[in-house]
Symmetry: C2
Subunit: 120 residues, 2 copies
């Protein structure tokens, strides 16, 4: 297994990869746009503090052009809209997700596409 990258590391790398080309990606600037204190973001990026709440993570995803679901996953969370969908039909979705647990990506992707393309 490739060593698991932490939420903070990922954020820092994403941000630093952009700050060279655009000075608007300094820690302070990003923190301001996101709406949090710079010191807070600093601690998060160094994994000194646990990841922030969903709202802040979503803002960070926007600012850094990252996938919100991936960022949330790294933070040990799952998007609240997905939770709501599952809660609306718990048995159905619980069964399905557990069935899919060990299926390879391509098989699940096939499902996604079939559903989307409406062969239903």
């Amino acid at each position: 297994m490739p060593k698991p990258i932490t939420f903070g590391q990922f954020l820092r790398e994403s941000r630093e990869s952009k700050v060279a080309a655009d000075r608007g990606f300094s820690l302070r600037k990003v923190a301001e746009r996101v709406g949090i204190e710079p010191s807070y973001l600093s601690k998060i990026e160094r994994d000194e503090q646990p990841p922030p709440g969903e709202g802040v993570i979503r803002q960070l995803a926007v600012e850094l052009s990252e996938d919100p679901d991936v960022l949330l996953a790294m933070a040990g969370k799952v998007s609240s809209d997905l939770l709501a969908i599952i809660r609306s039909r718990p048995r159905l979705f619980a069964d399905l997700i557990r069935q899919l647990k060990n299926l390879p990506d391509h098989a699940v992707l096939r499902l996604v596409r079939e559903v989307r393309d409406g062969s239903w």
Copy 2:
């Protein structure tokens, strides 16, 4: 819509439906088997306190022979094993679940069965 039943109401009804036939389903006895204080269970059943944590909910499900996923959903939660599955492949599962959001039950059920019966 039929008025939404609360977590506490559901628990109380489930327990009281059993206590007539089996005195082991008194609030105190159930609380003891579950491993919580009777006063705590009392407050939960009357929705005076928010629902307990996942572990206690699972114990309640066992004692009352209810579906854990349904009970968790009523408590506004989602089973932690499902969360772990989603977090392991966030983009894949996020896409899939959002696709299925508005599909009728029978269509999702068909998916579940097809996957289970391994036409894959």
